[in-house]
């Protein structure tokens, strides 16, 4: 083989970078189809109730409009998920504010405004359930009296779930019964029992480009029946939309074509939601007989589409005097919103990540996703892990302070390492070295020196400085048996001119899919990066390589591209006399030769689970993920006691993500995730009133600007993994998990006060500080969390 510079690990230009930079890239709102109409959505203004009547004011000429209601849907009135609880259009019952009821289309976009204003909907309104506690209270009332169903807003389904609870899991470190007994003994034997409750808020993805699609419908001119639909749009998962369309239109998969166009950011917010807006536009195309474009503006996008699940996590931990975790129980609850959607899957990741990178001799994790009358919460970078890892990494600091250890030393006594088993019983076969990551991260960030210096300077300053860190991991790919079920397929074609073309349904939305997959193919084929083409994501042409989610593209899809490339090489060597090693010219000559003699060459490769991977969905035990990325993040903060504002003044992020495929894109991913994590911790708050999002605009939903962000120092440890192409693992979601707990740990270091809820706004800091001053006796423990080591501590506020 010729000795050339590796393409993996270099940073070539983005495949689609040039048109993006030159402004030539065409996003969905740049596109117009002949005869295209514009669509709009008429939404509920109440959170819960039933529709009594819909009135169309007579001053509008309604014959100019296409109007779609639930009864017009040719197939099922459902957006596809496991339970079919989520209607495409509300027919009678309303379960959240901004629930779609009617769709309108008109040739002139401006004509939609007046029409929307001329539709009056009367409701019989019911009191709404707006948080986890209210939903739990309704369940308690129902259990107490089965006739009390007043506040049961979700009944359960044949696909699982119980009243008001979409899904629950129980995960044990072993068999259930013996683990329960061992936990009783662990708490008996513990020198310390430390409890805590931690909450996180909703968060908006805030992709730059709001959701938008254009749909076309092929109608039989004789019968008027729908023969097929085509939807173009901004999205992550075209085959999810194909699946949704098959249900709504009662069509076979091959009649539902989806094309992803250039997508301006997604972050999970375009994972399942395009199934809704895509179905809506296709229904309007059916009704109007024209292509129909629907583009949400920012206000509608923020009010009506998915956000990160709010959560509440309670930990109860048994700890020995020498700093060992003896056992624990973790109870995770997330607010799923009005319909099940992806909540069971988000909950799964929250559950499996709840134990963190630690050895738990005995652990029980119980989790549940509760129904509320809020628009359904959905996928957002991290997908449940940021919630439970926030709780865990705050709690680890709490334990350390309570038992008189440093946060560093306590974690060191409990870290998982190579050969250990995770809480699900997965053996860590590939090397894991959390000790080294921690040592390096603390050294790189100057953690110890800063802790000492700030302890001194804080005595004389109204600006209190502190440092804190979080240690965590993120599983790559679908959970458990998920990848096996996805059964992903990729093609690698050799075109007539000898150039290779990658065909996948994995989408580019800013994170670098096109670029890294072409790098993988170039490396495996020993060709220049510029020679590799990647096909537009059009389901009429590309195979289903699975959704572009779960940090799976680099590791799982990348590996399939690598295998396909190796297959192509093997074919050309045996059938077209390609020499080993080969030059670019020899490859092209061999490819053209093959094309001339044997026709079109395509390698198709399907996912094959590593033989050893085992997962039990019922017991929730086994190999949860094919691989994990590991990280230690260090935050430095300044808390200004004049304004109660917290500023992150420096951030250090060290991670082990396997082989880094594209250092510039990887660093960008980490920096962006940390910026989102800082927003999650300190700025971004969804303010709801009676189920309405009150701050659905960017002036009042406060995301941090570049002026609010610190220097972010990103470093990698590169330990190649067996599972990914060239040794890569997943990277996309990891940086969302660590910032919030690291920042709140730093705030505790700065102020002596442990805050356990995010977002933590200046008003919250102010309230806490003034309540401590007003009630000095009640707050003493808060100010100094280190208590007598000989005393068992139990915080009274928690009922497990």
């Amino acid at each position: 083989m010729s000795e050339t510079k590796s393409i993996l690990g270099s940073s070539p230009l983005r495949k689609e970078g040039r048109p993006k930079v030159l402004g030539a890239a065409q996003y969905i709102d740049d596109l117009t189809l002949p005869g295209m109409w514009h669509g709009a959505t008429v939404r509920s203004t109440i959170a819960r109730g039933t529709i009594r009547s819909i009135t169309f004011a007579p001053h509008i000429n309604w014959s100019e409009y296409a109007i779609v209601r639930a009864s017009d849907i040719p197939g099922e009135n459902a957006i596809v998920h496991l339970p079919k609880d989520h209607p495409c259009l509300a027919a009678r019952e309303i379960n959240h504010v901004a629930e779609p009821i009617l769709l309108l289309a008109h040739p002139e976009k401006s004509a939609l405004l007046a029409a929307k204003a001329a539709i009056h909907i009367d409701y019989d309104e019911l009191p709404g359930i707006f948080n986890i506690e209210a939903s739990e209270a309704a369940v308690a009332a129902f259990i107490n009296d089965p006739n009390d169903t007043d506040n049961i807003i979700w009944p359960g389904s044949s696909e699982g779930g119980t009243p008001n609870c979409f899904k629950n899991y129980q995960m044990y470190t072993g068999e259930a019964a013996p683990t329960e007994s061992a936990l009783v003994e662990a708490f008996e034997a513990a020198d310390f029992i430390v409890e805590g409750e931690y909450t996180t808020g909703a968060q908006e993805q805030l992709y730059i480009e709001p959701n938008g699609v254009i749909a076309e419908c092929d109608l039989d001119p004789v019968t008027g029946h729908v023969r097929g639909v085509t939807v173009r749009g901004s999205m992550q998962c075209p085959y999810y939309l194909v699946h949704a369309l098959t249900l709504v239109f009662n069509l076979p998969e091959e009649k539902c074509r989806v094309i992803q166009v250039e997508t301006g950011g997604a972050f999970g917010g375009k994972e399942d939601f395009p199934s809704v807006i895509g179905s809506h536009a296709a229904l309007l195309a059916m009704k109007s007989g024209h292509p129909v474009k629907i583009i949400y503006d920012r206000g509608e996008d923020m009010a009506a589409t998915t956000k990160r699940h709010p959560s509440r996590t309670r930990l109860r931990t048994a700890v020995s005097r020498d700093g060992k975790l003896l056992g624990g129980t973790i109870d995770v609850a997330i607010d799923g919103g009005a319909y099940a959607t992806l909540s069971p899957v988000v909950l799964s990741r929250a559950t499996i990540h709840a134990p963190g990178p630690y050895k738990w001799p005995h652990l029980r994790v119980r989790s549940k996703a509760m129904a509320t009358n809020i628009p359904p919460h959905g996928a957002f970078r991290g997908f449940g892990a940021p919630q439970s890892l926030f709780a865990l990494e705050r709690h680890m600091d709490k334990i350390a302070y309570t038992i008189g250890f440093t946060p560093e030393e306590f974690r060191r006594r409990n870290f998982l390492s190579t050969g250990d088993h995770t809480a699900t019983g997965q053996p860590l076969v590939e090397p894991v070295d959390m000790h080294h990551l921690l040592t390096r991260a603390l050294a790189d960030s100057g953690y110890h020196a800063k802790r000492a210096a700030f302890a001194e300077s804080n005595q004389h300053s109204r600006i209190k400085r502190g440092v804190g860190f979080a240690a965590f991991m993120h599983g790559t790919g679908f959970t458990g048996s998920g990848e096996r079920r996805l059964n992903s397929l990729v093609h690698l074609d050799i075109l007539a001119d000898g150039r290779p073309q990658v065909l996948v349904s994995s989408t580019e939305f800013g994170q670098g899919t096109n670029t890294i997959l072409c790098q993988v193919a170039a490396e495996a084929l020993h060709l220049p990066y510029d020679d590799i083409l990647i096909h537009e994501v059009d389901t009429a042409a590309v195979p289903n390589s699975g959704p572009t989610v779960a940090s799976r593209t680099a590791m799982i899809v990348g590996k399939l591209v690598e295998r396909a490339a190796n297959e192509v090489l093997a074919t050309l060597r045996t059938q077209a006399a390609l020499p080993t090693p080969h030059t670019r010219e020899q490859f092209i000559a061999a490819a053209q030769r093959h094309h001339a003699q044997q026709g079109f060459l395509r390698a198709s490769v399907r996912y094959e689970p590593p033989a050893k991977i085992f997962w039990d969905d019922d017991l929730y035990r086994g190999d949860a993920y094919p691989g994990y990325a590991w990280a230690v993040y260090v935050a430095e903060v300044a808390v200004d006691l004049n304004t109660y504002q917290v500023q992150v003044t420096r951030f250090d992020a060290l991670q082990e993500v396997g082989r880094v495929l594209h250092p510039i894109l990887a660093k960008g991913q980490i920096e962006g995730g940390i910026a989102q994590g800082i927003g999650y911790a300190l700025y971004e708050k969804c303010v709801y009133k009676d189920g309405h999002l009150m701050n659905n605009q960017m002036t009042n939903y406060i995301m941090p600007t570049s002026a609010d962000l610190p220097d972010i120092h990103v470093t990698f440890e590169e330990v190649p993994s067996l599972h990914g192409p060239g040794g890569a693992k997943g990277i996309g979601e990891l940086p969302m998990d660590g910032p919030a707990p690291a920042i709140l740990n730093a705030i505790e270091n700065a102020t002596g006060i442990g805050f356990n809820s995010i977002p933590l706004l200046p008003e919250d800091v102010y309230e806490r500080l003034t309540s401590l001053t007003a009630r000095p006796h009640g707050g003493a423990e808060d100010l100094n969390p280190v208590v007598d080591q000989a005393t068992r501590t139990e915080s009274p506020e928690v009922n497990a």
Partner: protein, 296 residues
């Protein structure tokens, strides 16, 4: 876009006198940089359907300096203010306040006149203008005679209530005149917004003061954003501080008295950006910060 642009009319007269003549019937709304009204239009909140653009009128865009005062035309943009070296040297609080507003693109379009006439209690420039004792000149054309009518008031009297000002229908803000402070004046301003850029104030405090021979405050003017339904001078707190001592032995008493006075005249609200309690507490902290940085 929650408005239909075809439902709005915009007239762009060639001169100021034509603009005043048009406006004199009181049926049109003037629009300058549009950074407020265009947002309202997009959100479907713009009630005024007939707009008269004054954005391009050079008669309203000037910065005039005399030995005793600086006069800024109503069309002076935030960028104009930020780039003017005389303002930066003589009225540093105004330069700072202008630097906070919106984005660079906003600052290129948004005008001082718009910032004042929009009359938001959270606006950035009013606290600085209030402590600098600015005066406002208003102009209009008599609807019958077309005769030019000019009125001048202390800016502190301009804001009457929430979003209500001295402006009559048909009247325009012509200019703002600011007397130059002396070299002995100490200047202070701090904004506490929802973030460090592109933010609306939760509160802001501007102050200027002189300190006499015996460590006493011989002159003090204070003004705040978002502590009331309009931008306010803090007269009660000023009275409490006048002639107060900053000497080491007295500073704590002076600070406490000032904080109490400020709390007594502060009447902020709970809203989507913050809470009343937080606003009052932070404004008091800023006042204390100012007092403690004055030379004792």
């Amino acid at each position: 876009m929650h408005s239909d642009p075809t439902q709005f009319a915009l007239i762009a007269p060639a001169t100021l006198s034509e603009a005043l003549a048009l406006l004199s019937n009181g049926r049109h709304t003037p629009i300058a940089g549009g950074t407020e009204l265009m947002v309202a239009l997009a959100a479907g909140r713009l009630q005024q359907k007939s707009l008269v653009s004054i954005n391009h009128l050079p008669e309203l865009r000037f910065i005039q300096t005399t030995p005793t005062a600086i006069t800024l035309g109503a069309n002076t943009t935030f960028t104009d203010i930020r780039r003017n070296p005389t303002i930066a040297a003589e009225l540093p609080l105004l330069t700072l306040a202008a630097s906070w507003t919106g984005s660079i693109a906003n600052q290129n379009r948004a005008t001082l006149g718009g910032n004042i006439c929009n009359a938001s209690p959270a606006a950035d420039t009013p606290p600085a203008l209030l402590v600098y004792d600015a005066a406002v000149t208003l102009i209009s054309a008599n609807p019958e005679t077309r005769e030019l009518v000019e009125r001048t008031f202390p800016y502190a009297e301009f804001h009457l209530a929430y979003k209500r000002t001295l402006l009559h229908p048909g009247e325009l803000l012509h200019s703002v005149t600011i007397p130059l402070p002396t070299p002995a004046h100490h200047h202070f301003i701090r904004k506490v917004g929802t973030r460090n850029a592109q933010a609306i104030s939760k509160t802001a405090l501007a102050a200027i003061a002189t300190v006499g021979d015996h460590h006493t405050l011989t002159e003090v003017r204070l003004a705040a954003a978002s502590l009331a339904d309009r931008p306010v001078r803090l007269y009660t707190t000023e009275a409490a501080l006048l002639n107060a001592s900053l000497a080491a032995a007295d500073i704590t008493t002076t600070v406490l008295r000032a904080r109490a006075a400020l709390a007594s005249e502060s009447c902020p609200i709970d809203d989507i950006r913050s809470t009343a309690a937080y606003r009052t507490a932070v404004a008091a902290n800023l006042l204390e910060q100012f007092l403690r940085t004055l030379p004792a």
